[in-house]
């Protein structure tokens, strides 16, 4: 005979303001099997938990239902409370009457009725709950960091500092990411390379860090503590172990007309190249799209000049497999493509550039050796217009709904640097709002306005028209003065919105992590768990989680590292006992479950069965590896015969819940 206790939480006024908690406790008290039904102001408090514990002891309860907040909040609290008085923690059910009820309804009658129904469903389910015991699985003492920008580098350094091995997988030939392309950093105006490159070198020299540059993650299997990751090391046609980075090949390569992506295509590089002087690893890479030897077998100059014989035209993609305990995603961002912004003439005029392009134009290692010249005619621009929020804070489908966060500050930086170095240059900044919260940020912006006399104009640029005389006509409105402006500019700089790197979405699928509608990774909790993904063992670092500047990125990178270290120091972790299992007598061996399993937990075996009349038959049946299964339940829905079932969420339990709701 079941003896079930029901405990209805007020959650202060969170629940009690919209749900008549007394009525809920009263109604659920009449459900079959329920022997005690109580309400309390804060069930999660010490005294609330004691109420639950005492009831379990006093009434010898066989199962409890707590009507409270989402199980993501306090399921563990109540499971522990139950376990402390000898009730198996998996005999605890949570009916979510807060997030899914009181918070979304305004009418007390409706909300109360729904809370009762949710409670009934939980009671119906707890009748069928079975005690479960969690096992343990070991933790692989190695971390993977996906992305080698400043976020990935910082995370890797911190994890390595704690004594754990870390691998960085970077898709480009060098680590460094966007920060390596940036000229100066706000609000201190120190040189980005000067503070980044020592970290890059530190990463390459750290004995715990392995850098897989020019590599991609192609497959992720397993679960927290036990990920098995396949990394594709793309063919760079140069033996990394032999190349000394002397650069002779890049000097001699006859194919010199390859757009240089490091300089945003503003100048050219050779087909064999080292992205920039401080690249890590400092190893040449051959671009197969341009190399004449790889395209038509004619050339071979680099191979001839290489004194260490590092060139290998026959190199192929290599795949390596490695076990990791934790994975940190640090895939970063990119400026959006501006094809849809014809009004700014980005595709028509070389002197309309993005802010990242401007960084390269101003950088000493950039196409002009650090002198700011117009890309079209290499003359000094005397009038520069900055356009803010190009694609940010958009309410149409062209752009992004969010604020890209970094543009206000870097534009103030650009404006200030230009006014400092070229005082005869007039600088205009068109903005919707100037957003500069952050330590020393608003002071920085005010300096641009007050000390450097940058013309900040509230209003948007309507149209940018390149003219035949080389000038660029900018039509804009000044909202404060309420007038139309026509500016003959020499250079227009667009603060393009930033978006997550395109590799993030397929990666999220591999990692079974969640993303928001803008493809930023979703954190486990926006306030309380900002660097963890909802998938155990996967952590988030940097702009892949949302727009961030460098100080924030580094802070989050270290936080993600701390979380990863917290996992790696454990020798074993408790497994989830709510895993799938197949009823072999019913299994058809059709493979549907194996195909939908995102964790690769299901394999098929040929097994001998005793059949009627003393015969035996060999049948193909599904077998679940409980250490790998994460209990997502995909297999149970895919199984046509209902042979697959999930502990804690069995088909019959779900049917019982549905029946209770529909009654």
């Amino acid at each position: 005979m079941q003896k079930i206790g029901v405990f209805v939480c007020h959650c202060g006024t969170n629940i009690a303001a919209t749900v008549d908690v007394k009525a809920v406790a009263e109604a659920l008290g009449h459900e079959p099997g329920v022997v005690i039904s109580r309400d309390y102001q804060y069930m999660c408090s010490e005294s609330g938990q004691n109420l639950v514990k005492n009831a379990i002891k006093e009434h010898k309860l066989t199962g409890i239902v707590v009507c409270s907040c989402s199980p993501r909040m306090h399921e563990n609290t109540f499971r522990k409370a139950a376990a402390s008085v000898g009730l198996n923690p998996y005999l605890v059910e949570i009916a979510n009457i807060r997030e899914q009820c009181s918070w979304i309804h305004k009418d007390i009658a409706t909300a109360t009725e729904k809370a009762i129904i949710l409670g009934k469903a939980a009671v119906a389910k707890v009748h069928l709950n079975a005690p479960l015991t969690a096992g343990e699985s070991p933790v692989a003492k190695r971390a993977l960091v996906i992305g080698g920008g400043i976020a990935g580098i910082q995370t890797a350094l911190d994890i390595a500092e704690a004594g754990f091995d870390v691998d960085i997988v970077e898709k480009n030939p060098t680590i460094g990411g966007k920060m390596a392309q940036i000229d100066k950093t706000f609000p201190t105006l120190d040189c980005a390379a000067c503070i980044l490159t020592p970290k890059m070198v530190e990463a390459s020299q750290n004995e715990h860090i392995t850098i897989h540059s020019f590599s991609e993650v192609t497959d992720v299997k397993g679960f927290v503590g036990n990920f098995t990751v396949t990394i594709k090391k793309k063919a760079r046609y140069v033996d990394e172990t032999k190349c000394t980075g002397c650069g002779l090949c890049t000097e001699k390569c006859p194919m010199k007309k390859v757009p240089n992506e490091f300089n945003m295509g503003l100048d050219n590089r050779t087909a064999i190249y080292i992205p920039f002087a401080q690249a890590v690893p400092k190893v040449a890479t051959i671009d197969p799209n341009y190399c004449m030897m790889l395209k038509n077998g004619k050339c071979g100059v680099c191979s001839k000049v290489c004194s260490v014989g590092a060139i290998d035209y026959k190199q192929e993609d290599r795949f390596i497999e490695q076990k990791y305990g934790a994975i940190v995603v640090a895939t970063g961002f990119n400026p959006i493509n501006l094809d849809k912004y014809d009004e700014f003439a980005y595709n028509q005029c070389p002197d309309v550039v993005t802010s990242l392009e401007l960084e390269r134009l101003m950088n000493a290692a950039g196409p002009n050796g650090g002198t700011l010249l117009r890309p079209s005619d290499k003359t000094h621009p005397h009038k520069i217009v900055f356009v803010q929020c190009v694609g940010s804070r958009c309410d149409d489908s062209k752009g992004k709904p969010y604020c890209s966060k970094i543009c206000c500050m870097y534009t103030a930086k650009h404006a200030m640097l230009i006014r400092e170095k070229y005082p005869d240059t007039e600088v205009y900044v068109f903005y919707i709002d100037v957003r500069t919260p952050g330590k020393n940020f608003d002071e920085f912006y005010r300096r641009a306005v007050e000390q450097y006399n940058v013309h900040y104009i509230k209003g948007m640029v309507g149209k940018v028209t390149p003219r035949s005389d080389g000038k660029i006509e900018v039509q804009a409105s000044d909202l404060l003065a309420d007038e139309q402006l026509h500016i003959d500019a020499d250079l227009v700089v667009l603060a393009a919105a930033i978006e997550p790197d395109k590799t993030a979405r397929p990666l999220a699928t591999m990692l079974t992590t969640q993303m928001d509608t803008n493809d930023f990774f979703t954190e486990a909790h926006p306030k309380l768990r900002p660097v963890e993904s909802a998938t155990a063992g996967i952590f988030l670092s940097g702009a892949c989680q949302g727009p961030k500047d460098i100080p924030e990125t580094v802070a989050q990178a270290s936080a993600a590292a701390a979380k990863a270290i917290g996992l790696l120091v454990k020798n074993s972790i408790t497994c989830n006992p709510c895993v799938a299992h197949s009823d072999e007598l019913m299994c058809n061996g059709c493979s549907s479950c194996e195909k939908v399993c995102p964790y690769g937990a299901i394999t098929y075996i040929d097994k001998e069965f005793r059949m009627p009349d003393r015969t035996t038959a060999v049948r193909r049946v599904a077998s679940v590896n409980p250490a790998v299964c994460q209990g997502c339940g995909a297999c149970t829905v895919a199984c046509p015969s209902g042979a697959m079932d999930l502990n804690g969420f069995s088909n019959s339990q779900i049917m019982a819940e549905v029946d209770a709701i529909c009654k």
């Binding site: 979405r505 397929p506 699928t509 007598l585 019913m586 299994c587 058809n588 061996g589 059709c590 493979s591 549907s592 195909k595 939908v596 098929y604 038959a617 049948r619 193909r620 895919a638 046509p640 015969s641 209902g642 042979a643 088909n651 019959s652 049917m655």
Partner: protein, 323 residues
């Protein structure tokens, strides 16, 4: 054709390629053709039938037959080959144990349509220039051939054999059929009209389970409808809800696996157009995930147990449900 089939079957039995043959034999009536297994040349000579009433799909029988000793010869019509492939894909039949001879498909005849013309006592039929000459105990009757064709043959999807070891007769093509016309008509109804249509149809169901038993996609070791633990096993329709749900659950269970062989509707003694439920699923799958024909091959990933980046979001169900 029947003669040629018997001769080839006898050859394959004699040379040891196969040790038995799955084909058809006559039941009590001329139009009552049922699948049967033949072990010898004599049996083939006396009982093997292949005529205009031979519509039954034998693929499902191979689930058991292909697991026995030795090889079995199966004559498969184009539509049957799709079912066979689907079963291979689901590891339900052992391909190596079956020798397949592809034979021409229909159109096959529906005895019920002949009877509906008031023609009874049918002894045999002959197709002469698309006029059906029916020999009955009361003398000869005639009717236009196409008026007697099975619905599933009238909207045939393919004359192509997707799997075979040898072919008898010419190979055909995938057809551009009108099989989704009726589904479209149902889609264009209001929710109430559609509900009324299905209530009328499904209320005829006597839960004889013929549709399930004939369905080549229904080959579970233990059907959920026979499993007391499943909660849906009740044999008789306890109420109208269950009556409706039986067919809807069944359609869900075979979704993405149904090859549209049409056997469910062919065998339904109450003439419920069950294939329409399956075709609705097929049409939806085609529209949501791109054209997919179950059983066309044995290796592709079925849309319903595959995930792709560009798959529609679950919200599509709501969006499409809005009237």
């Amino acid at each position: 054709m029947q003669e040629a089939m018997i001769n080839r079957a006898k050859q394959l039995l004699a040379d040891g390629t196969v040790n038995r043959v799955i084909g058809w034999k006559r039941g009590e009536f001329a139009y009552d053709i049922t699948p049967a297994v033949f072990d010898s040349a004599d049996e083939l000579d006396s009982d093997f039938v292949f005529d205009d009433f031979t519509a039954a799909n034998v693929s499902k029988y191979l689930v058991k037959e292909s697991k026995k000793e030795g090889k079995v010869l199966a004559f498969l019509k184009p539509c049957d080959t799709y079912s066979f492939n689907q079963l291979v894909k689901e590891h339900r039949v052992v391909r190596e144990n079956v020798y397949i001879i592809g034979i021409p498909g229909g159109p096959k005849l529906d005895a019920e349509k002949i009877k509906a013309k008031g023609i009874t006592g049918i002894l045999g039929v002959k197709n002469e220039n698309y006029t059906l000459k029916i020999d009955t105990v009361y003398g000869e009757e005639t009717m236009p051939f196409y008026e007697a064709v099975l619905d599933k043959c009238a909207s045939c999807k393919s004359k192509k054999h997707v799997v075979y070891d040898e072919l008898m007769g010419d190979e055909g093509d995938v057809l551009d059929s009108d099989r989704f016309d009726m589904v479209e008509k149902l889609e264009n109804m209001t929710a109430q009209e559609r509900y009324d249509f299905w209530r009328e149809q499904l209320s005829k169901c006597i839960r004889c389970n013929a549709c399930r038993n004939v369905c080549p996609a229904c080959t579970c070791e233990k059907c959920v409808f026979d499993n007391p633990a499943s909660g849906v096993e009740n044999k008789a329709p306890a109420d109208s809800f269950e009556e409706n749900m039986f067919h809807i659950i069944r359609a869900f269970h075979v979704a993405g696996r149904c090859t549209d062989c049409g056997e469910c509707s062919r065998v339904c003694p109450q003439n419920i157009p069950l294939h329409l439920l399956n075709r609705k699923f097929i049409k939806d799958i085609n529209e949501l995930y791109g054209n997919y024909q179950a059983g066309e091959d044995t290796t592709s990933r079925a849309p319903l147990n595959d995930y792709r980046q560009d798959d529609c979001e679950a919200g599509i169900v709501h969006e499409r449900g809005v009237e």
